[in-house]
Amino acid sequence: MLYHVQIEITLKPTVMDAQGTTIERALHKMGHATVGNVRIGKFVTLEIEAKCPNCARGAAEEMCRELLANPIIEQYHVAVVESEAVV
């Protein structure tokens, strides 16, 4: 089965995100005074042939640990959907 994987990578909450802070200030200047905790990250999509959704997730998580994210400063979130469900 072909699975479509979406991966979000952001700096850990304990790591100061200078981009997020700067964008937050800009949003406040636009008048969005109630906006807070803006974080900037990366979004990776990929397709993977795997036996089951959990197999696809496991492979994607390994990719995150080894390359796509730097676990020292970043955290990641993996979402797996069957390829047919993606328009």
Binding site: T14, M16, A18, L67, L68, I72, I73
Partner: protein, 238 residues
């Protein structure tokens, strides 16, 4: 002593390193293409600055997978010398040869200027030609040079004396104002526990000739060559 300067696609300080080590410091040096796997002839590997693999994903993240890196892991494990400068430092942290990570400067700007550093360790082969707590002035040029490590790792680095260079002012005061990128504890350069792998964001190779503003950087390469010469003599006597 023989140096090897690694060339990744996107390295751009490789020729500067080669010039500083070969022409200025008078050491034997050759280029090492990133696909090479035979580096047994080399005593010290230099990972130069630049933008290896276009800084794709994260600085240094992809260079880690170049064939030469496996040979460098072995080289380092044998206790041979490795110096990573700027992007080379980023590659060393991504490859796990040095602890911590380097990420976006706190002010988000690319910073390119002369920078005072305090030499914190002078008992290393890399730094024994410097005086204790000597202040040197090396150029920095990076957008992602902010050193980060979790609290435990940072405490261990400090406890082991693995911080080799710290950002400071002209008088050697390590202050938040003298910190050009938000690095934790003003860290500009660290070594591994064995003291044979050094990573630093500032560029010693750009401070090797008076014409270019000073020659303090030369002491790093010369000191290392002298250490190895003494080591070889002592081995020969045994």
């Amino acid at each position: 002593m023989k140096f090897g300067v690694v060339q990744f696609p996107g390295s751009n300080c490789d020729a500067d390193c080669y010039h500083a080590i070969g022409h200025v410091t008078g050491q034997e040096v050759r280029f090492v293409w990133h696909e090479e796997t035979e580096i047994g002839d080399l005593d010290c590997i230099v990972l130069p600055g630049g933008f290896s693999y276009g800084d794709y994903l994260r600085c240094g993240a992809v260079a880690r997978f170049s064939p030469v890196m496996e040979a460098i892991q072995v080289h380092a494990a044998e206790g041979k010398f490795v110096i990573g400068i700027c992007n080379g430092f980023q590659v060393l942290t991504e490859a796990g040869l040095l602890p911590g990570a380097l990420y976006r400067n706190d002010h988000l700007k690319f910073v390119c200027k002369p920078q005072f550093l305090c030499v914190e360790r002078t008992d290393l082969p890399f730094t024994h030609f410097y005086a204790a707590r000597q202040v040197v002035d090396f150029p920095i040029a990076h957008g992602e040079g902010r050193y980060y490590a979790d609290a435990d790792t940072l405490a261990e680095l400090e406890r082991n004396g693995q911080v080799v260079f710290r950002y400071c002012d002209a008088q050697g005061n390590v202050t938040p104002e003298a910190n050009p990128n938000g690095s934790l504890n003003n860290i500009a350069g660290i070594c591994n526990a064995g003291g044979n792998v050094l990573g630093m964001m500032p560029h010693p190779e750009r401070r090797c000739e008076r014409l270019l503003g000073g020659s303090d950087g030369k002491k790093l390469f010369k000191g290392l060559a002298e250490s190895l010469r003494v080591l070889e003599i002592s081995k020969g006597l045994r």
